[in-house]
Amino acid sequence: MNFVKPTIEYSQLWPLLVIFAVACIGVLVEAFVPRALRFRVQTVLAAAGLLVALAGTIWVATDLDVLGDGVARGSVDVEGTIVIDGPTVFFWGILLVFALGGVLLFAERQLEGGVSAFAGQAAALPGTEAEREASTRGLEHTEVYPLLMFAVGGMLLFPAANDLLTLFVALEVLSLPLYLLCGLARRRRLLSQEAALKYFMLGAFSSGFFIYGVALTYGFAGSMGFSEINEAVRNDVGNQTLLLLGLGMVSVGLLFKVGAAPFHSWTPDVYQGAPTPVTAFMAAGTKIAAFGAILRLYYVAFGSDRWSWQPMLWVIAILTMVVGAVLAVVQTDMKRMLAYSSVAHTGFLLTGVLGVQQASELSDGQVTSLQAVLFYLTTYGFAMIGAFAVVTLVRDSGGEATTFARWQGLGRRSPLIAGLFAFFLLSMAGIPLTAGFVGKWAVFTVALSAGAWPVVIAAILCSIIAVFFYVRVIVLMFFLDGDSSGGEVATVTKPSVLTSATILVGVAATLVLGIVPGPVLDLAANAGQFVR
């Protein structure tokens, strides 16, 4: 029997490996570094790892091979399981930037009076002596940093995966640390643990669908690789029913991750229960990574079978937007409102996925779907992280105050913070001169070019409903007096430079991407096509 040594292109892969290495070193740090030093070592290590990986990503991006006709750049690596191409490095870039924002929010210790937002001792039961002791001793979990890095690693692998098995591994690598992180809130621990358990159980359930779909697809194509599946679809070999069921089940797994209706039900509970820094990171990161995977799977593996998945996606996109926008209207909790709004954004993104895929099908200079979705994800990530970072600042005696009643009149008490939050909301609503407008415009136009006008009309209707609930929050902050119900009102706690920096970068990016979106749109355009 002949063994062939697999070739692994380390020169292309090393940003990914840096992240996993840092994660492993982080585990060792937990074991060997004295407790007093751990926080500092872990944060510096994580931030440095992310920066190195970011630099590496840029280096890899400039060094991609140009393929064939020049619309695609990159290569298929590691025996066909991973693709490093233009879209991949774009996803890596924005994921790493948002992960950096995540680390900054994780490391914030000024808001809770010297400790982080994570539970002092996760193993201590809520309300017991052990918990009180952990709290008085000022314990904190620095394991969150390696967990975060593992999740980031999974996210990086997710949009790069070029076969179904790697896709599944990446899915689990990114999900498991997130399940844990969701359960680690310092305050409202029961809510947090409940959220983690729900997320885990539903995640496991949906993974079941995913892996079943993988099996069925393998049954159809006889291979896990995306290009082989594409070949099989094109040549119409095998049993069509197997293909359709496989496609459907795999879609369920991915649509669950992005929070599309009817697979969205976990989103509000988990977003609300998880510690807000985790929510911020998860809202941006998971969605970006999962959309990367969805795009590659649908465009590369099932690209030739577009006519079978497109009607399904039409319906899901419309349903997601309607459910997200309508349910957001009745929310009275800021984190839940943002969660439903992120569901609506998933719908808008799916609208973009429906657009025209091939540059050859477009008239000159039109935006491709991939480009539009990449740009939208970038704008969405900045606004989401920024908005959740603001949520961490608005507090009352019981920690973060997320109910609407507490936010009443915030604009009078802290005009700056309320103004920034309003700006993020306006961007999410898609008001011109904010990033959100250009993003929405891009995805709607590509969908319209592909003839999906019913979806676009639904999308515009939903974005009007969305304006309504965003404006409601702005009215609440600026036009209503606090304390009308006689209850306590929340005030803004002054954050350290870490959170301030995150918010500032979010605002700056949202503004700049709205006024001069050109460079980032160019970057997205340069990402080109998927390498098949």
Binding site: Q240, F263, S265
Partner: protein, 643 residues
């Protein structure tokens, strides 16, 4: 009906690059924008001099606009379209959306109107808002509003126009809700914003459709290539643009926000209702003449909407006792006139713009005069508490009278020329439209005379501790200027100047004579106006006006007071279905999904006493919905593809 349009030359927007004095164009927008930035970012440090700066900058814009206008007059007809490229907003491949400014005959007139009337309103506000602790912020918002409006009329492409469009929406939201301590103001601001978004949906769909059809959003490219599109496409585009125009210009069925918008300070009402925001819809239609000229069906819809609005607004104007709301109704009606003219096509466009300008003068005059009256009456807006104010406020009385004579179309005053122009054009195109427009003039005579009599004549019906007094000079000064404009604005039609001036933009219509001589039409319309005024005199002038509104009134009056049930219609058509949809989705989430498993709703929040809201919080029901979704996905895929 529109035979002359087919085959006739529809003008193409083809500007030359700005040079010489025209390179100053960007300053017109930049000055008020800088004012807004300084006043809003500068904070309390600018409190002392903020209002002066905020007034000086729009005046600067006006001076530049005037200089540009004079230079434009000095140029030949074919050199009067100028474009200035500022920077490239979005550039991907061949998609190139620039921040380009287009200065032509149409935008030149708008520039003068916006900066001119805008500056007067700024000056007036110095006096009106003198005692408001947040005056500086008010001026910041006003500047922002003016800047956004200038972007709207100066942009060379639809995307830039949309930017200004949303900008005025946002600024008007801030201004209407300026007195945030009044909950009604906050509600009104929100309503204006949301209803405007419905119109924006139409406009944004139209822009995307332009982009898909022509690969560009620039007026230049689209007007050149518009001939290649089918009439059906043009009709759809026209209807979408009309939806946008209806939202911004408060035309049927999106008019409900306008009455509520009266919650804002009076200068805001003048700025929104006279000089700027509401005229944006008319501008949009005239600017998109290359679409409407090719879509006769869309023009017919414009006419229908315009005539409905004309009478709807007049009806409201007749019944309201609140002086500002009555004026708001009249605004809706007058914009109905402009839209009627725009709907008539090439022959009507110049008169739409002409009436827009004169209306800008006399309506600003009327609103600011009304503000002056309120100022003297301790901010009371109920006309039933006025009466005999001509003695107490002679200057305001005089300026209001000039505005009044202009709006009813008294011969010689500005409104006479513009309104008669519209009625004549309508009669020569379509008898029915012309007759309706003439009847509308009669109704205008009624409600304006009623307002005039109740406010300045009849008996004193003042509240006890009210001592009416004339307003300070800083307020009456602008009033006098506006009154003069309201009187002499008609000069623009001298020698058909405005028609010829606009013809390179809107196209030239072959001359068509109305069925009866123009002089006879003027006479008939004037008789109608006099009849309306006489009825008003019989109703309010001859008998005492009760201090409280009578409740035993005909359904006509009741409907008018209820704004012809605009709110009810909105509620039943939009709000209630929305509410039911929400409730339905919630109920499905909470009961159906859960109920299938447990046989009924279980106390929410049983888990560890944590309060849960909208969703029931049970993993099992979430999992069920996931399973259900997966089943549906699989079955639907199979059904669609294998059936």
């Amino acid at each position: 009906m529109y035979a002359f349009n087919e085959g006739g030359a529809i003008p193409v927007v083809d500007p030359t690059t700005a040079d010489g004095v025209f390179t100053l164009l960007w300053l017109v927008v930049a000055l008020p924008l800088a004012g807004a930035a300084i006043l809003l970012i500068g904070g309390r440090r600018t409190d002392r001099w903020g209002h002066l700066l905020g007034t000086a900058l729009p005046i600067g814009s006006f001076v530049i606009s005037l200089v540009l206008f004079i230079s434009l007059l000095g140029r030949g007809d074919d050199e009067r379209q100028v474009m200035q490229h500022l920077y490239t907003w979005i550039e991907v491949g061949h998609l190139n959306v620039g921040m380009d400014l287009l200065y032509d005959q149409l935008s030149a007139l708008f520039l003068l109107l916006i900066t001119g009337v805008g500056s007067l309103i700024h000056i007036y506000s110095i006096g009106y808002m003198a005692h408001d602790p947040r005056r500086r912020r008010f001026f910041g918002y006003l500047n922002l509003f003016v800047a956004a409006m200038l972007v709207l009329v100066l942009s060379e492409n639809y995307l830039g126009l949309f930017l200004g469009w949303e900008g005025v929406g946002l600024a008007s939201y801030l201004l209407i809700g300026f007195w945030q301590h009044k909950p009604t103001a906050a509600a009104a601001a929100k309503k204006a914003f949301v209803l405007n978004r419905v119109g924006d949906m139409g406009l944004s769909l139209a822009i995307m459709m332009f982009f898909v059809l022509f690969g560009s959003t620039s007026f230049h490219v689209i007007s050149e290539a518009a001939g290649n599109a089918s009439e059906k496409q043009m009709t759809i585009l026209g209807l979408l643009l009309l939806l946008g125009a209806c939202g911004k210009s408060a035309q049927f069925p999106l008019q409900a926000w306008l009455m509520d918008a009266m919650e804002g300070p009076t200068p805001v009402s003048a700025l929104i209702h006279a000089a700027t925001m509401v005229t944006a819809g008319v501008y949009l239609i005239v600017r998109s003449n290359f679409v409407f000229d090719r879509a006769p069906d869309a023009r017919t819809v414009v006419l229908v909407v315009a005539l409905i609005s004309l009478f709807w607004g007049a009806w409201i104007g007749c019944a309201k006792d609140d002086i500002k709301k009555s004026l708001a109704g009249s605004t809706m009606s007058q914009i109905g006139y402009m839209m009627t003219a725009a709907g008539l096509g090439v022959a009507g466009y110049p008169f739409a713009i002409f009436h827009l300008l004169t209306h800008g003068f006399f309506k600003a005059d009327l609103f600011l005069s009304a503000g002056s009256v309120m100022h003297g009456m301790n901010d009371d807006v109920d006309m039933r508490h006025y009466g005999l104010l001509r003695k107490a406020m002679p200057v305001t009385f005089l300026t209001f009278t000039m505005g009044y004579l202009a709006i009813i179309g008294f011969p010689g005053f500005s409104g006479f020329w513009s309104k008669d122009g519209i009625i004549e054009t309508a009669l020569s195109q379509n008898i029915l439209v012309g007759v309706l427009a003439a009847l509308g003039a009669g109704v205008t005579g009624f409600y304006m005379t009623r307002m005039m009599l109740m406010t300045f004549f009849t008996d004193k019906r003042w509240e006890k501790d009210v001592h009416p007094h004339e307003s300070p000079t800083v307020m009456t000064g602008p009033l006098v200027v506006l009154a003069a404009l309201a009187v002499f604005g008609g000069l623009l039609i001298l020698n058909d100047w405005i028609v010829d001036w606009l013809s390179p933009v809107t196209g030239t219509a072959p001359h068509e004579s109305p069925p009866i001589p123009a002089l006879a039409i003027s006479a008939i319309v004037f008789v109608l106006v006099l009849a309306g005024a006489a009825v008003a005199w019989l109703v309010v002038g001859r008998q005492a006006v009760p201090r409280t509104a009578p409740t035993q009134v005909s359904w006509v009056t009741r409907a008018g007071r209820e704004e012809v049930y605009g709110n009810v219609i909105n509620d039943t058509l939009v709000v209630d279905p929305g509410r039911h949809l929400t409730a339905g989705v919630l109920a499905t989430d909470r009961y159906v999904v859960d109920g299938a498993l447990t046989g009924g709703p279980v106390a929410i929040g049983a888990v560890a006493g944590v309060a849960r809201r909208a969703q029931n919080g049970f993993v099992r029901s979430y999992a069920l919905s996931l399973l259900g979704g997966a089943l549906i996905v699989a079955l639907a895929l199979l059904a669609v593809n294998l059936a």
